[in-house]
């Protein structure tokens, strides 16, 4: 969806202000919000693309006025409400009013290290040969899907060059399309496509700048 999360190229947000000591957390609740997000993700009731989809479909004004961990927290609450894992009243005061729903897994302390070390690799066996190869010109499609997508607006319609071929990966758009398991993976070839800044932003852009995105095959069409 064309949400406010798709920020590349927006103007007016002011300078980047790095904090001198760059603390990871600014309040104790942020640590717990991070950990709760990871631990609830491990229950298998959604996947990372559904999490991203939940964050980016928050009301635009809420998204823009929230800190990043507050965005994560709101999205987490929403994912749980949608699946009946907790209701709004329970989330409000922490008092349990309905029985727990069965979940696929509960992450135990002794399994945390192994779980983080394993991660969630997204590469899958390719179902077909890659359509594009390094050096080929492609155009990012002009498309505006209403659901989750990872093709940023600033790249759409523009011509770039394939610089890396990463194998076939779980297709984010499909992965976020079904709210409950089993999730759709529909792996596709994934490429890094580089664009001249002047192609993206016009002839006045800096001629020494190039920008790449990582794009699944269906985001692209042949060009020249």
């Amino acid at each position: 969806m064309n949400g406010v999360h798709d920020m590349g190229g927006l103007q007016g947000f002011g300078p980047v202000v790095p904090e001198p000591d760059q603390p990871l957390f600014h309040a104790a609740w942020e640590k717990r919000a991070l950990a709760l997000t990871l631990a609830m993700g491990a229950t298998g009731q959604w996947n990372i693309d559904l999490s991203r989809s939940a964050r980016e479909s928050l009301p635009p004004a809420v998204y823009l006025s929230s800190s990043y961990y507050a965005i994560w927290l709101r999205a987490l609450e929403r994912l749980m409400r949608e699946r009946g894992l907790a209701d709004a009243d329970e989330l409000q005061d922490g008092h349990m009013r309905s029985a727990a729903r069965p979940v696929a897994r509960v992450l135990r302390a002794q399994d945390v290290d192994a779980s983080l070390a394993r991660g969630t690799p997204t590469e899958r066996p390719a179902q077909a040969p890659a359509r594009y190869a390094v050096g080929m010109k492609v155009r990012a499609r002009n498309m505006h899907p209403p659901g989750h997508t990872r093709l940023p607006r600033y790249a759409r319609g523009h011509i770039g060059t394939i610089v890396l071929v990463h194998g076939a990966h779980v297709f984010a758009d499909a992965h976020a399309s079904s709210p409950l398991p089993p999730f759709q993976e529909q792996p596709q070839w994934l490429y890094t496509v580089v664009f001249a800044a002047q192609e993206l932003w016009g002839p006045q852009a800096d001629a020494t700048v190039q920008v790449s995105v990582d794009a699944w095959e269906s985001y692209l069409e042949p060009a020249g």
């Binding site: 999360h5 798709d6 590349g8 927006l10 103007q11 947000f13 300078p15 980047v16 202000v17 790095p18 904090e19 000591d21 760059q22 990871l24 957390f25 600014h26 309040a27 104790a28 609740w29 991070l34 950990a35 709760l36 990871l38 631990a39 991203r52 980016e56 998204y63 823009l64 006025s65 800190s67 990043y68 507050a70 987490l76 609450e77 894992l85 907790a86 329970e90 005061d93 922490g94 727990a100 509960v106 945390v112 779980s115 983080l116 070390a117 991660g119 690799p121 990872r150 990463h166 990966h169 994934l190 890094t192 800096d206 020494t208 190039q210 920008v211 790449s212 995105v213 990582d214 699944w216």
Partner: protein, 213 residues
């Protein structure tokens, strides 16, 4: 998005209290429902506060500066080369290393959210997730570098990597000329988090002690 510290301090504090209560309530609820194990939450926090951070990436970069075979491996198959040093997993499942040269400087961003190579850099700093960085890194990377006090020659090409899928990028900064002869630990102390995102350069020897890792 909102900066962490508002100007209205009373408001900021009551908001903090409110968020604190809300997250406590959430944790209590999820624990009672049996969805989460509070000890697992502690372990996750402890992992990213104390064990996984930019010192991992700095060790990788420092080794690539002095070990030509490792550097080749890192540039060819970063996931495997980094895993050989014991770093990998969540948010670093598929790594690509990009090396700066006098001709080309690399910068990494995630314009759509906050994708970041956790196993080598830890959790992202607030600015990396902020609207100013995500919006401008792709449109005006030289302006962003200026915000960090980095000025590159106008002829240096700038290469911005927008992490829009599950590939995670590690920038390998150039080794400062004056760092020749230092041992790997001294070299790693020159490699800042920002240098591995591309919004900074490796420190000159002698400046390392002034910087928090």
């Amino acid at each position: 998005m909102q900066q962490p510290h508002g100007h209205d301090h009373d408001h900021a504090h009551s908001h903090l209290d409110e968020m604190d209560l809300r997250v406590r309530a959430l944790e209590t609820l999820l624990t009672r429902k049996g969805y989460v194990d509070p000890a697992a939450l502690d372990r996750i926090v402890e992992t990213y506060e104390n064990r996984v951070g930019p010192h991992n990436g700095a060790a990788v970069v420092a080794r690539s500066w002095v070990d030509a075979d490792f550097r080749q491996w890192l540039m060819r198959d970063a996931t495997a080369a980094i895993a050989s040093m014991g770093y990998g997993g969540r948010q670093g499942e598929h790594m690509v290393a990009v090396a700066n040269t006098p001709e080309e400087h690399n910068i990494v961003v995630c314009t759509l959210c906050s994708c970041y190579p956790w196993p080598v850099l830890g959790l992202p700093p607030v600015w990396y997730k902020s609207a100013p960085y995500r919006s401008r890194a792709v449109l005006d990377p030289r302006g962003v570098l200026a915000d960090f006090g980095v000025q590159l020659p106008p002829s240096t090409r700038i290469r911005v990597w927008d992490s829009t899928a599950e590939i995670r990028y590690l920038v390998v900064p150039m080794m400062p000329a004056a760092a020749q002869g230092l041992d790997p630990r001294q070299l790693a102390a020159l490699v800042t988090r920002d240098a591995m995102i591309g919004t900074g350069l490796a420190l000159a020897p002698g400046r390392a002690a002034t910087v928090t890792p």
